[in-house]
Each structure stands twice: as C-alpha cells, then as structure tokens.
Amino acid sequence: MSQAKAKPRKLPFFKRLARDISRHPALYVIFIVIMTYFVLFCYWPMYGNIIAFQKYKPLKGILGSKFVGFTNFEKFFTSYYFPRLVRNTLLISIYNLIFGFPFPIIFAILLNEVQRLSYKKVIQTITYLPHFISTMVICAMIVQFTNSKGFLTIFANSVSKHEGALITDPRYFRAIYVVSGIWQTFGWNSILYIAAMTGISPDLYEAATIDGANKFNQMLHVTLPGIKETIVIMLIMAIGRLMNVGWEKAFLLQNEATYETSDIISTYVYRKGFVDSDYSYSTAVNIFNSVINLILLTVANYVSRRMTESSLW
C-alpha cells in the first residue's frame, strides 16, 4: 500500500480493483478459494447462531423458525444446571491456573541450571513427549490407571480410607484432570520460558556472583526478572482462556457418576445438542460461554497492554 503514489490514489476504488485483478489474477482466484472456505465453515455457522434466539425446527430452517427472543437464555440461567456448570468450569480452570501455571516456570528455571548440554537435551526430549501422545490415548491411560483395577486406585485406597475407583468418584475428577494436565504439558509449556532465558546476558550472572549472590539468589533476582515479561503475557493469556476448558479431555474422562463435578459448559453444550437434539438451547448455552470468553480475553488484553508493551491486538 505504501508504494501507492499520488496518481493511483485518485482513481476510484473499482478502477483500482480492476487494475489489480488484471495484474494479479492468481491472487484473486486464491482469494475466492480461501474466502469460500471461511464463509462455509466459519461465517455461515456464525450466522447460524441466530437459532439461539429461535425455536429452531430443522425442517423449517432458520428463515422459517419462530423467534423467541431470550427464552433459551432465560431457561439456562434459571435451570438447576447453570450454577453447577459455571462452578465446575471455573474451578477446573482456576485449579489449572494455580497449580499448572507455575510448574513450567519452575521447571524452566531449574533446567536452566543444568550445566551439561547433553543432559538438558535428554531432559527436554523426555518431558516434551506426552505432548505428542493423542488426547484419546492419554485419556485411555488415565481411565486404565484410575478404574477399579488401576494402580492409582489401588494406591489411593491403600493410603487412605477411600474405596472404589477414582474415575467414578466425583471428588477426584478435578484432581485427575489437573494433575494429568500438568503431567502432559509442563515440559512443552516451558519452551517459551527457556527461549526467553537465552536472552538474559551472562554478564548479569557474573555480576551477581561477584556481588556474592548464591544460586538461589541468582534464580530469584536474575533469571526470574529476565523472563518476567513472558510470564506476564502467558498469565494474561491463561486468564483470557479461563472459561475455555479443554473440551476433549473433560468429555472423555467424565461419566454419569461424576457429572456433579465433571460436567462443564462445553460438555453440556454437546450433550444438549447431540444427545437431546435441543439445537436452539445448546446454541444459546454456547453463546453464553463465548461471550464470557470474549469479555475475559478483552479485559486480559487491555490489562496486558497497560502493564506490558505487548498485547494480542
């Protein structure tokens, strides 16, 4: 655009467009292909969200179905499930944040202190591994370990008064979800912190050593401040995703016995939509979730722009 000189700017938009098309016909073919994809799979479904405000009948379609205003939303807000779903979604998220967020940072700081490069490489390769195993297999393993014959169940039952399988006990769902999540992601999530540490000047460590700082002091006063900005950005992004709990894992790990703690908004959306075929209601619940997500993300982004130089937009 910056190349545009005074003369082309005087041309009306469609003249310029026609000239651009004749110069770059291929780009316009690509434009049509790509936009077709986005219209079909993103913008058309976005328009389909209208059914949240309707009593949608598949046979009548969106245009033929009756509008009912906010009835579906009211039904959700006054339902027995509303507080339970919000609580479950938020609690899993908050536990994930409190326990899952600091772990990769501590791991990265300690890994930074491993002197030998070959050790470092091996540790990284091992800790990144769970990231590459499919969610289905991860969940299958969790179910195998926590069912009535699983070694984790046997262990829990031998050290406490607990009886029965962990996977069907609603009190253990959040712990299983969060702990397995940390196991799966702490190595992978440390990548950006490790990258940020390579940017810290070695002079700072040298100066700290001369000033008599021991290892712990160095970690606290050199390494940690060096990655502070990365931490802040990651934290803000995590807060922005607070209501966006990973759907797949919750769906695969939950069972009717644990709905009390395991049923989150997205799994409820799935069940209402695909099991009960209550399309309008399910869409309304999903819109509620999206709006909350968007507000959280916007607030997080605003705070990020205020506190650091960086933001998502």
């Binding site: 994809y37 389909g48 059914i51 890994l111 399910s282």
Partner: protein
Amino acid sequence: MAKYINPIRATKGEKIFYHVNHIFMLVLCAITLYPMLYVIFASLSDPNEFAMVQGLLLKPAGFSTIGYRFVFRMSTIWLGYRNTLIYVFLGSAISMVLTILAAFMLSRREFMLKKISIGLIVFTMYFGGGMIPTFLVVSQLGLTKSIWGVMLPGALSVYNTIVLRTSFNAIPPALEESARIDGAGDMRILFNVVLPLSGAALATITLFYVVGNWGAWYNALVYLQDRRDLYPLQMFLREMLIEDKTTDAYMNSLSGSSANVHLIKEITKYSVIIVSTLPILLVYPFIQKYFVKGVMLGSIKE
C-alpha cells in the same frame, strides 16, 4: 548463563545444589516416562499373572505376547489404521494446500485486498460458529457420513497460516522483484521463489497437521454418525478403552469361550495403546525440533 561461571570457583553450596537439581530432574523424567513404561510392561504381561498384580509394575508380570496377537486379529484396529492413514495423508495435503495459498495471499505486499483478508481470517480465531450451527451447515452441505466431513471442517488453521506467513514475509523482496522482472507471475513466484526458500517452515506446519490429524476424532464423532466403516483409529480406541465396549467381531466371537478371556482383554487394552501410539513415538525424536521451532514462530507478534 551458568556455564560462564568458572567451575573451579563453584562453592560447596553450589555443588550440593547441582546434585540436588540433577536428582530432581531425574525424578521428573521418571514420573513423565513411568505411565508409558507401565503400559509397555502391562502389554507384555501374562494375563493371569497381571490380574494378580496390586500396584506398580517394574517389569512385565510374567511374559506373553498374547495381547499383541489379539490386537493384530482385530479387524477394527486394521480398519481404523487404514482410515486414519487416509485422513493423515489426504487431510494434511488438503490443509497444506489451503494454508500455503492463504499465507501466500496474506504475504503479498501489493495485494489490494490484503488488509481486509487478514481481518476476515483473524476474526474467526476469536468468534466461532459453535458446535450445533457448524453441524447444521456441514449437514446442509451434504458432508456428513463421508470422509469429507472428517477432513474439511477445520482443515485450515488460522494459527498455522499466520506462522507460515511470518516465514514468507521474511523472504527478501529483492528476490521476488528480480523474478518479476524476468516475467514471472504470482504462481511462478510462489513455486519458484517462496516455497523453495521456506523448507523448514513448511516441514513444521506439515508436521503440525499430521500429528493433529493423527489424533483427531471430534469431526468423526459428530459427522460420521453410523458410518463405522469410516471411523479413524481414535474412534475405535474410544469404544474399546473409554467406553469399555467390545464391538470387534473377533473379540465378540471369543467372549465366553474360555474363563480368562476377560483377563486377556485387559492385556489387549494395553497392547492397543502401544500399537496406536508407536508410529508417533518412533518419529517423535526426529520431529521434535520442528515443533519447538513452530512454537517459537507462533510467538512472534507482528
């Protein structure tokens, strides 16, 4: 960094720290690996002996390959493997074509609709259609109950497009200009200038899609409906391991035939996990660095 400190000056306290740190890392690695090791041990165990085990396994309980022999006789596993390979190769190819085209279009400095295209594409990262509206559209397009319903929705990842565009943008404009002076059009520039210079980024994005398609199952769950013959491997894993259903004809034919069939089934579950994870585990050490690169590229903001 620590390596700049003269090791001779390492104090006693520092030495202790290094040892403790190494032990901590060792424990962490052991904890990370143990669940996988347990599955390997269990898959090679003798069904009767494994049933007696209470707690951890440090080696297979007895030894038997019966779990694997069962897995290889299960038609659902073979079918799932075949379908998954189709989705991985064809699906990733479709995704790559779309991603390359989108990234190329967004990297053209002189393209008039560049700004509006970026806006329209990035917008979809924050706003979506939701499960049901997307399902209704895919149904209306007639993509349900076919492989296209599995591969097309979500084929183009905006994140990957942005990563690839960052790499395309890094190519010096002078190279393209000289090609243009030689009479090259946009497609020629794409194939002869841009793509040959983006090998690492293309490899990274391809691997993102391959690993993603390997593990994907949501589209299959929602759009395939009763077409079990098109199920990817992950869907059969779900039936067998998460829902604990026996849907395989071979497994069903054995039920009730001998007393320890249910014990063998238990071993078979672990063998299935290994058989379905092995391909990724084998290539993982070689592809790991590309993934790390992808994470870094994705974190660069423009």
